[in-house]
């Protein structure tokens, strides 16, 4: 399926963009998040504090669907800090469609007593502040968070991310070899999270749980950097 590509803010670099948002933000927690800013694009990736983020949603369109769970794990290239993990189940504002129940395992009754995103947003922002967010497939996490925060606080939430899936696509979809393979009619390599992990000898985890998928994403990035980059690679080459 094709998803609408979101344009990233044209013009200013990420540090400039975040600094500007910090000035303009009305909502104190949001202002705080933006004020924490981000590292300069030339910072070596080995020195960057990161946080792997994953969400389960009721569907793929942020205008019609909602977030039902969020998992995150802070990490660096040296260590993934599982002890500092966070996990929330949320109550979406719109009623769940029966279709989406099959998509993940969270059902109507699970979320009856769950908080709204608004109640945990400050905690979430605090966990993300000052860290570079890492996701697998940025077209879920970023637009969903942006739309959900916009609806609740009247202003959006955009920030730079490293997308392990688009990194994987660089080697397995866009590289000359990958194109040649496609041209001779070979199926492209899968860049889904668990298929990508297998290429680096990472173990099989049972997927579709926001926290375990966040952990799996953090491990994948460590493996990708160890294989294709170095600790010195400037973060600007990796984020989008």
């Amino acid at each position: 399926m094709r998803l609408p590509r979101r344009r990233r803010p044209a013009g200013p670099s990420w540090p400039e963009f975040l600094a500007r948002r910090a000035e303009l933000a009305q909502d104190p927690p949001l202002a705080g998040f933006f004020a924490a800013g981000t590292m300069a694009p030339e910072t070596p990736i080995g020195e960057v504090p990161m946080v792997a983020l994953d969400m389960e949603t009721t569907g793929l369109d942020e205008r019609r669907h909602a977030i039902v769970s969020i998992g995150l794990v802070p990490f660096t290239l040296g260590r993934i800090r599982l002890a500092e993990r966070r996990y929330w189940v949320l109550r979406p504002p719109r009623p769940l469609e029966a279709k989406s129940v099959a998509f993940h395992h969270i059902t109507h009754s699970d979320i009856a007593h769950a908080p709204d995103l608004d109640e945990i947003l400050d905690e979430l922002l605090e966990a993300l502040a000052g860290r570079l967010v890492v996701v697998h497939f940025r077209h879920i996490e970023r637009p969903f968070l942006d739309a959900a925060v916009q609806a609740r606080r009247g202003e959006g939430l955009l920030f730079p991310v490293i997308d392990t899936m688009s990194l994987e696509a660089r080697w397995h979809r866009q590289s000359p070899l990958a194109r040649f393979r496609r041209w001779i009619g070979r199926p492209p390599a899968s860049i889904r999270l668990y298929d990508s992990r297998a290429r680096y000898g990472l173990p099989v985890y049972s997927g579709h749980h926001a926290l375990i998928d966040a952990l799996a994403t953090a491990e994948l990035l460590q493996a990708q950097v160890a294989t294709h980059f170095s600790l010195e690679t400037p973060v600007g080459e990796l984020w989008t």
Partner: protein, 634 residues
């Protein structure tokens, strides 16, 4: 416990030493780990860097080196490293490098020390301060209560769970589809928090009951309830359950007390499975006790032969339950003796009673009660002195053949050295046996010495005991008086040396078949048993079992203080190692042998083996010195 970490918890719970720690500590452990990925060829621990974690290999392979850079060990999934440094000065003593792409779980030192404090087994596993061999053997002994198997071991699948509002018809359909025989009934949590848990999405539930196959018969069909009755209406109100770290034995008692066949198993308040009475029975029937009684109920050789898999099963069970080498040896010897007895009983029933009294003698490991799962038959018949070959030998030859063929059918191969009662030489009246033994002791030749080392472990299996007891007396009286015999035995016993240099270069057995392995019997337990036998013969002991012989030797001044304990530990460790590797073979559906392969040797085991081989080597040196060849003056 966060359900989301089951993934990690479950993996660690499969490997030692974590497989024996309590559920609670396992939860704590899983929630505290750090994770890191290492590309093949990259350093994980660098010499002298500070360490603050225990490293656990989640996937991949790691090489550990000595200070000088030579290879010290190779580790794989589920192995730990870094504990030496944590227990010393927190500086890396053995650098480590990833051989393959590797994922490491780092266990923070705080959790590591907490585990050492809270769990003696864990502490022993990583402990290196105490003499290693001693602490290993001691710890295995401590684990020796047969009640240790936890009920979680019997669980093969997650329980089927349905909400109380589900109709009985839908529940029946789901149970059938899942090929289960029971379902747990869930409801919204009530005021009593008993068995209230959160599922993987954080939703709270309470297990309110269990619905079994028989409930459908009693509560639904017999009671004439319609198919749309909610299952909540037909389940009882009192749920009986056990915790997953309770023993199997406890679970069985719980079923008996409450007269139930299905028992839900909980990890704290969360359901993790349902144990059925048949699971427990299946588990219990693999015990050696049950097997022995079963042997005596068989009425044919075919019936006995069908029990062979059960023998292996019983062996694996014993080892898994933490039996020591004496328990395993005596259980297997008892099984072997029972088979022999039953075969002779069946033969006698067919051939008629024996014309003169006789006794079947066990030799070698069976006589010592040290039998292993890899063994061939050694047996002999001692006949009454009224024996007349012309009249009686047909009977006894047939009897011996029945025994020998029967044992072969039951998985005890024929003896390559022909030490079997089918050989006329080993089917003789008592007087002839006495002459044999006299000759062997008074004028040892290489062949006679070989026989001495087999026949001087002897015991009654079936028949007229006094016949064999007289022979035991003869050996105990004569052997100490013949220094030449003892010296010759001693020289023979030190021919098979332990492999001392197998750390840097894993010694190969030069038989072509097993490259890169050590024959633990030939290079370990057998020479150890030989040297203990010589000391026992020298002090006139009538004991057959090596440990009993050491007890007898202790009553004399033969060995320096502390030596016999070291021999005990070394023999125990070598025997257990051999047993464990045979179990690994069986579990991998390979034919068990006496070889150990380096890839199956853990770090700790390798150290202990080295210690044990050193003890054996020292004891062999002493043997030559203690039983010198008498000078041939005059």
């Amino acid at each position: 416990m966060d359900v989301e970490l089951l993934e990690i918890r479950h993996h660690m719970g499969r490997f030692p030493p974590f497989d024996r720690i309590s559920d609670e500590l396992l939860d704590e452990l899983a929630s505290q780990v750090d994770v890191a990925y290492f590309k093949a060829g990259s350093d994980i621990l660098v010499l002298d860097q500070e360490v603050h974690d225990l490293c656990y290999i989640r996937s991949g392979a790691v090489e550990v080196y000595r200070r000088g850079g030579e290879l010290y060990n190779r580790l794989g999934e589920g192995d730990i490293f870094g504990h030496f440094s944590l227990l010393r000065n927190r500086r890396v003593r053995f650098p480590a490098r990833a051989m393959e792409d590797t994922l490491i779980y780092f266990i923070p030192e705080s959790v590591f020390y907490q585990l050492c404090e809270a769990d003696a087994h864990f502490a022993d596993f990583v402990e290196v301060e105490r003499p290693r061999l001693e602490s290993t053997v001691e710890q295995d002994k401590k684990q020796n209560d047969m009640m240790i198997t936890r009920v979680r071991k019997l669980l093969t699948r997650y329980p089927l769970m349905l909400e109380a509002s589900t109709t009985v018809q839908e529940a029946a359909r789901q149970i059938t589809e899942a090929q289960a025989s029971a379902v747990l009934v869930l409801d919204a949590p009530s005021d009593t928090p008993r068995y209230t848990f959160r599922d993987s999405e954080g939703r709270a539930w309470q297990v309110t009951g269990i619905l079994t196959d028989s409930d459908f018969r009693k509560q639904v069909v017999a009671a004439g309830r319609p198919a749309d009755t909610p299952i909540g209406e037909v389940t009882g109100h009192r749920l009986v359950a056990v915790q997953s770290d309770e023993s199997v034995h406890e679970a069985m008692l719980c079923m008996l007390r409450n007269n139930i066949h299905h028992l839900p198993v909980m990890h704290r308040r969360s359901p993790v499975g349902i144990v059925h009475l048949s699971d427990i029975i299946r588990y219990e029937t693999h015990s050696s006790l049950y097997l022995v009684s079963n042997i005596f109920h068989q009425s044919s050789v075919e019936g006995l032969a069908r029990l062979t898999p059960d023998v292996q099963e019983a062996f694996v069970r014993l080892v898994e339950e933490g039996a020591d080498s004496r328990m395993v040896g005596s259980a297997l010897s008892t099984i072997g003796r029972s088979l022999s007895r039953r075969l002779l009983e069946l033969a006698e029933a067919e051939l008629g009673p024996p014309p003169v009294p006789y006794c079947l003698m066990a030799l070698g490991s069976m006589a010592r009660n040290e039998q292993s799962i890899v063994t061939d038959q050694d047996n002999a018949l001692v006949l009454s002195d009224d024996f007349d070959p012309a009249l009686h030998d047909d009977y006894f030859l047939t009897l011996a053949r029945r025994l020998s063929d029967g044992l072969a059918a039951c998985g005890y191969p024929y003896c390559k050295g022909d030490i079997m009662a089918t050989n006329p030489r080993w089917r003789q009246p008592l007087a002839v046996w006495k002459r044999y033994f006299h000759d062997w002791i008074q004028a040892p030749t290489p062949e006679r010495l070989l026989h001495s080392s087999i026949f001087f472990d002897l015991d009654t299996v079936f028949g007229d005991n006094p016949l064999v007891e007289e022979l035991q007396d003869l050996i105990a009286e004569q052997a100490p008086k013949h220094p030449l015999f003892l010296a010759a035995m001693a020289r023979n016993a030190v021919n098979r040396t332990p492999p001392l240099g197998f750390f840097r270069t894993f010694v190969m057995e030069k038989d072509g078949k097993h490259n890169n392995s050590i024959n633990l019997k030939r290079r370990g337990t057998a020479p150890m048993v030989d040297l203990i036998r010589i000391h026992a013969l020298a002090c006139g002991s009538r004991a057959q079992n090596s440990f009993d012989r050491l007890d007898d030797i202790d009553r004399t001044q033969l060995l320096a203080p502390g030596v016999s304990d070291r021999l005990r530990y070394a023999l125990e460790f070598l025997s257990m190692s051999r047993i464990r590797h045979q179990m690994i073979d069986l579990q991998h559906e390979q034919v068990p042998d006496n070889n150990i392969e380096p890839e199956n040797v853990s770090n700790t085991e390798r150290h202990n083996l080295k210690d044990a081989f050193q003890v054996l080597s020292n004891a062999q040196k002493f043997l030559k010195f203690r039983y010198p060849m008498p000078s041939r003056s005059r």
